[in-house]
Structures are given as C-alpha cells and as structure tokens.
Amino acid sequence: MNTDVSVSKIKINSASAWWNSVKRNWYMFSRNKISVVGLVGVILVVLIAILPQYIAPFPEHAAAFTNFGDANLPPNSEYLLGTDSTGRDVLSRIIFSFRGALTMGVGVILIAAPIGVIMGLFAGYFSGRFISSVIMRIVDIFLSLPSLVLALAVSAILSPTLFNSMMAITVSWWAWYARLVYGTASSVRNEYYVKSAELLGASRAHIIFREILPNCWSVILTKMTLDMGVVILMGASLSFVGLGAQPPQPDLGTMVSEGYKLLPNSWWLTIFPAAAIMLIVLSFNLFGDGIGDMLKTKEE
C-alpha cells in the first residue's frame, strides 16, 4: 500500500520535472524571436507536407493532368500562382512537392547520422589504435570531394528517383557525422569517469553508448537540425539537373528546371517554386540556429 503511494509520487515528480525542463528549454529557445519565426515556418511546412490534399486548391493537378483550355495562365484569382503548359495549377503542385522535399531531408539525416555517429564513436573509443585510424582515413577519403560532386557521381550510376538521390546524398553525408562525433568522443575517452567505468569492469557497449555517447548528443542534434535545410537544398539541386524525382511527380527542383527554359515569358513557373525552396530552407535554418543556440547556452 505504502509503496504504491510513493511510486505514484515519484511519477508525478518526474512528470513535473519533465514539464519544468520543457518550460526552461522553451524559455531559452524563444528568447530569440527569429528562432520562433523559424519554428512557425517549420510547423507550417510539416503540416503542408502531411496534408497536401486538404490544402491544395486542385489536388488532382499533382499528377499527370491536362486542361489545355487553362494552360500558361499568369497568376489570377482562380489560379493564384498561375498554370503550367498543360494547364495545371502551380500552387497545388508546389504544395504537393513539400512532402518529397521533407522526405529527402529526414531520410538522409536518419540514415546518415546513425552510420556516422557509430563510426565516430568506435573511432573515438579506439582512439590511438589501428582500427581508429583506418576508420578516420576512410572518412577522410569520403570528405576529399565536395558533397554535391560525390552525390552527383553516385547518382550517375543509379536510375533517377527520389529514393536513389537520397541514397546518393547519404553516401556523401555520413562522414561529416563521423568526423564530428570522433572529435568529441576521442577527447571524452580520457576523462576520469570513463576510465573509472572501465576499471569497474563495465562492458565496451556500456562505455561507448552510456558514458561517451551522452556527451555527443548536443553536437549531433545541432548538426541534424542545421542539416535539414542543407540536405533539402542539395536534393533540389540534384532534381534541378534531372537526377531526382521524375515527372509527373511534383518536385520543386524539377519545376524550376522546367520553368526557367520558358523565361522571360512564363516567369511564374520559375519564381514561385524557387521561392518555395527558399522558404522551406530558411525556416529550417532559422529553427536549427535556435536549437543550436539553446543547446549551447544549456551547456554553458
């Protein structure tokens, strides 16, 4: 009976402690109004990506659709951002392309970060030994080319799809996480609490994941949020040159590359998708900066 009460008390305490830490983090994050603007932008982008069919005025225009009667119209009251050469609503196509852009960012980071983090942790744990220098030399080789060039070279051998361009960017991306985590891990490796855990007979897995990894979380999280914008931008670049999602699937980079050939006449086909790329990347960059600042102040 008694024990039951104390257990529920502890639960309440930990819940309120959790709530307090959320409040504290929010206070630190929201001190910078620009970060809050970024957060609002990110929420909007995510909502559009999840629910395009309820937001887009003409959901059926996202696929291969023709209505030549309304082709090449400049922005007007019916089609707010104009129509393309087969009469599809540009606004609806932009709204439907958010999902692909977001999938690209999240997918690349969720594959590249764990691979890089584990490589970095191992190299850091075995720092000074042969295996560590082998891992870090491989990392050096992957970083000896600009990421976009390596991604282009890899996508050259794959057929152009959204998934393959994600893979191509991942190949050029994991090494950054490995180098980042290696830096922190190898310096933490020689701290006394790691040494003492070792002397107490803790397993390798315990030391790597419970003693060393927690020290790396803040740099990893900061890099992950800041990378969202960068990866989405790279994805747009790949599809701009025809190595991303293929028509009729709506994609911002593809829309820009199809539109700019029709400049200066049908300018709305280029300007609005380009502005959408800017807005998505800008939101994630502002949000990422805010998270980075928050984690930095917390550490200090």
């Binding site: 030399r137 491989i138 050096d140 080789i141 992957f142 000896s144 080319l145 600009p146 990421s147 976009l148 060039v149 282009l152 070279a153 890899v154 996508s155 050259a156 051998i157 914008g229 931008l233 747009a236 670049s237 701009f240 040159v241 025809g242 190595l243 820009v256 700019y260 400049l263 200066p264 300018w267 280029t270 380009a274 790329i277 800017m278 990347v281 800008l282 960059n285 502002l286």
Partner: protein, 341 residues
C-alpha cells in the same frame, strides 16, 4: 625548416587520400549496371567488335587488375576516351578546365572581398543598421540555391534590362585571346585584346556572383561573430584603456586572430562552389568542366565522370592544404603544436 617538413608531410598524406578516392570512384564507375562495350559501341555492334573493345580496354580482366591498368594511365594524365565526345577525356578537361577555374576565381575573390568587408563593418557596430540588414540578407543568401540566384540575375539583368549577355563565355564573332593561362580575362588583358577580356567579364559576372552569394553570406557572418568574440577579450579592453584608437586596435590586434575560422569557412565554401558550379554552368550554358561532367553523368560516360571527379578531388585537396598552411601561418599555437608533434 619545420614549415617545409609540415608541408611535405601534408602532401604525402594527400597522395594517399587521392589513391583512396580513385579506388572509390573507380568502383562506383564499374558497378554501374549494363555492359560498357555495348554502351560505347551502340546496340548494333557485332560480337567481335565488342570483344575487341573489351580487350583494348582491359575489361576482360578482374577488377583489381583493371584498376592497376587504369591507375598506370591516369598517372600519365590519360583518363581514356569519352564515349559521348569521342575524344580523350584529358584533352576535353584541358580545354574546359580554365573556364571553370576563371569562374571559381571570380567567385572566391568576391566572397573574400565582400564577405570579409561586410563582416568587419558589421562587427565594428554590432546591433547597428548595417549589422541587422547584413544578418537578414545573409539568411536569405544561405537559404537560396545558387542556381536560383543565377536564374533571378538572368531575369533581371538580361531579360528585363538587357544589361548583360545570357549564355556562354564569349560573344560569337569576337576572337578569343591567345592562350597564355587559358583564363580569357587575364589573357585578353595581357595580349592587349581588351574587347575579349571585357566581353568575357560581362559573361562571367552573373554566374560568378551567383556562385559567390552563399559564401559571401557565410563569410560575413563568420567574420562578424569571430571579431565580436575577440573584441570581448581582456587584451582588447586593456589596449583600448591604454589609449590606442579603436580603429587601430581592430586592424592590428583583432583582425588576425579573428581570421582563422574565416579562412576555414572560405575553404568549405570554395568546395561548395566546385559542386554548385554544376548547376550554375548549366543555367548559363557556360562551357566549363562542370557542364561537361553533367553531360557525362546524364550519358553514363564513365571515363569522363572519373576524370573530372579526380580533377575536382585534386583541386579540393590543394585548397585544403593551402588553408592548413594559412591557418598555421596565422595562428602560432597551431604552428607550435605541429612542431612539437
């Protein structure tokens, strides 16, 4: 003395990395699905012709042996024949590389001059009008892909106002300058062909600026924050307290320690430019090595891809070595650490 030893060590290590990179790229190029012989000769080629092609290109040997053959040729500067231009890849690269180098030099110069300049001006009055407007514009600069800048410039400066030419490197009908460096602006000025120099400059100013904008934004932000950090240090307070004018303190004592992170961000930006040049050269139909490589990628022309990627890898390593040497020169702590190690 120590400096030379450090540079030699760095160069030797770069050769190892380059070998690794060549293995990586070679493997990527060989796992491509499809038969290279029928891709190069076309679907109508006879079985004997394909057999001969495989023999000539050592494609019947195991992969490691193929790599050794390839490496032996590559060291001599021979990357094989391009299947879509039907010419030796090294010759194509030799003709197209100067155009890209010219673009990157212009972009890097813009980044260094404007980026550092704006950063210093922002840092000298943090929170001021200029500082705030630079911050807002730099967010936009970083969030916009360079090909979008290129398209916007083209719309404004070519289509709407007609100030600048849209595509290419030189207007048809103007004689290109005699080749000395391969950079048309330099060669034009050196040989007195001012018409060609001015015309090329008008062609590269838009793609060059489009390439530089992200870098300008990042350099300005990094210069600003690094200088503001250093201006909070005690040595600056003591210098100002002892009556040295603020302008002199900044130029003599704050600028140098602040420039170390700036130098490394510039290197990263130049690397990004090597990648973004692919998109920008495409937008402006600029006859450079990136546009060539992009065509090779879309045509699955393996020799050309491997050749260009290796050249970009070498360029990137050279930039990195230069940056390491610059940082060692700027920061005595790095120099001392290297010497004691």
């Amino acid at each position: 003395m120590h400096g030379i030893k450090y540079i030699i060590k760095r160069l030797a290590w770069s050769i190892v990395v380059l070998l690794g990179l060549s293995v990586l790229i070679f493997v990527i190029a060989r796992v491509i699905p499809g038969d290279p012989a029928s891709m190069a000769l076309g679907p109508t080629a006879s079985e004997e012709a394909k057999e001969l092609f495989r023999k000539e290109n050592n494609l019947d040997e195991p992969l490691p042996v193929q790599y050794i053959y390839w490496l032996g040729d590559a060291v001599k500067g021979d990357f094989g024949k391009s299947t879509h231009t039907k010419r030796p890849v090294s010759q194509d690269i030799k003709e197209l590389l100067p155009a890209t180098v010219e673009l990157i030099i212009l972009a890097a110069a813009l980044e260094i001059i404007i980026g550092i300049g704006l950063g210093i001006l922002s840092a000298s009055k943090p929170g001021g009008m200029l500082d705030n407007s630079v911050r807002v514009t730099s967010y936009l600069g970083i969030a916009t892909p360079s090909f979008v800048w290129g398209i916007l410039f083209m719309l404004v400066f070519s289509y709407w106002t007609g100030l600048l030419p849209t595509v290419g490197r030189l207007t048809r009908g103007i004689t290109p300058p005699r080749t000395i460096t391969g950079l048309f602006v330099f060669d034009g000025l050196l040989t007195g062909n001012f018409e060609a120099a001015w015309d090329t400059f008008k062609h590269i100013i838009m793609p060059g600026t489009a390439l530089a904008l992200t870098g300008i934004a990042q350099t300005a932000r990094m210069t600003r924050s690094s200088m503001v950090d250093n201006m909070d240090k005690d040595f600056v307070a003591s210098e100002i307290a002892s009556g040295i004018p603020k302008r002199k303190v900044i130029s003599l004592y704050v600028l140098r320690p602040s420039s170390i992170p700036v130098v490394s961000i510039i290197a990263l930006d130049i690397a990004a430019m090597l990648g973004n040049a692919f998109m920008v050269e495409q937008v402006f139909s600029y006859p450079g090595v990136s546009k060539y490589c992009l065509a090779a990628i879309l045509n699955k022309d393996l020799n050309a891809i491997v050749g260009v990627v290796m050249v970009i890898g070498i360029a990137f390593l050279l930039v990195n070595i230069f940056v390491d040497i610059m940082s060692a020169f700027l920061d005595p702590r790095i120099r001392l650490k290297e010497n004691s190690a």
